[in-house]
Symmetry: C2
Amino acid sequence: MPNVPETKLKGNGTQSMDRESAASEHDHTSLRLWLRLLTCTTLIENLVRTRLRTEYEITLPRFDLMAQLARHPDGLKMGELSKMMMVTGGNVTGITDQLEKDGLVERVTPPDDRRAWQVRLTPKGREAFEAMAAVHEGWIVDWMDSLTMQEQQQLYELLGKLKQGVREKA
Amino acid sequence: MPNVPETKLKGNGTQSMDRESAASEHDHTSLRLWLRLLTCTTLIENLVRTRLRTEYEITLPRFDLMAQLARHPDGLKMGELSKMMMVTGGNVTGITDQLEKDGLVERVTPPDDRRAWQVRLTPKGREAFEAMAAVHEGWIVDWMDSLTMQEQQQLYELLGKLKQGVREKA
């Protein structure tokens, strides 16, 4: 294949069975990096999913939607929520319906545009989210602590550069 | 919250609407890092999903399953496939059924253990996968190229350390 740098990656070549198992010896830097990025994210996401289910009986998409609303007390339009959650609108509508049924979110009409529904947390939803969020953050801090603060900062910056680059290409 | 380092992350504080929008000013390093990791992965995964659908009319889970089988020509047991894809067994069975119907994979019985089904690519499946894989790698190389090779290597190593640390905790 043209334009693929021949560099091979060195180090940390753990042989565990995960999404990196799809990488061959002959694959190049970027593909192996992508498969490792995917593996790390899936690994942590699966842990969060299991913990949320067993400790709070809540699904990950519901938690994620509440997390976005917690940051936007005035409410968010469905299109904004969908963009922030990086999923299609249909998914967001379904999750919102379930959370509304449980009294955790409510649909409101903003006074300046009566055609645009917004979603926001109810007081019950906010209270429930805040209790989960503190514990959730503790899990993440614990799982990340094999990296020093300096390494976490370095990783954060590299991922920031990657994100910006991908956005510019897309 | 106790045991949470007070360090704040510096730099690359892009204000785009994505999963990082769930991070507040008051959140700590590890949580912000996790939300950025999630954002980068979701961003690239959504691009791959769209491209695979529009250019090859194939779903991402089907492509991922074929990628694992391509690395294991003798076939894989369902349990192994499920572990490598980091999803539950039920998901893998459903995807395998669809690919089998399209003649891209086949179920075989290994001679040494007639009770254990294995799945492998058919010649048609291998040919189809190899054509897609070369193009797929080109997309990834292109999307990653805002990072120098040195930065990609650095990111790969940091993620390797993170992965190992999370596995040890889990």
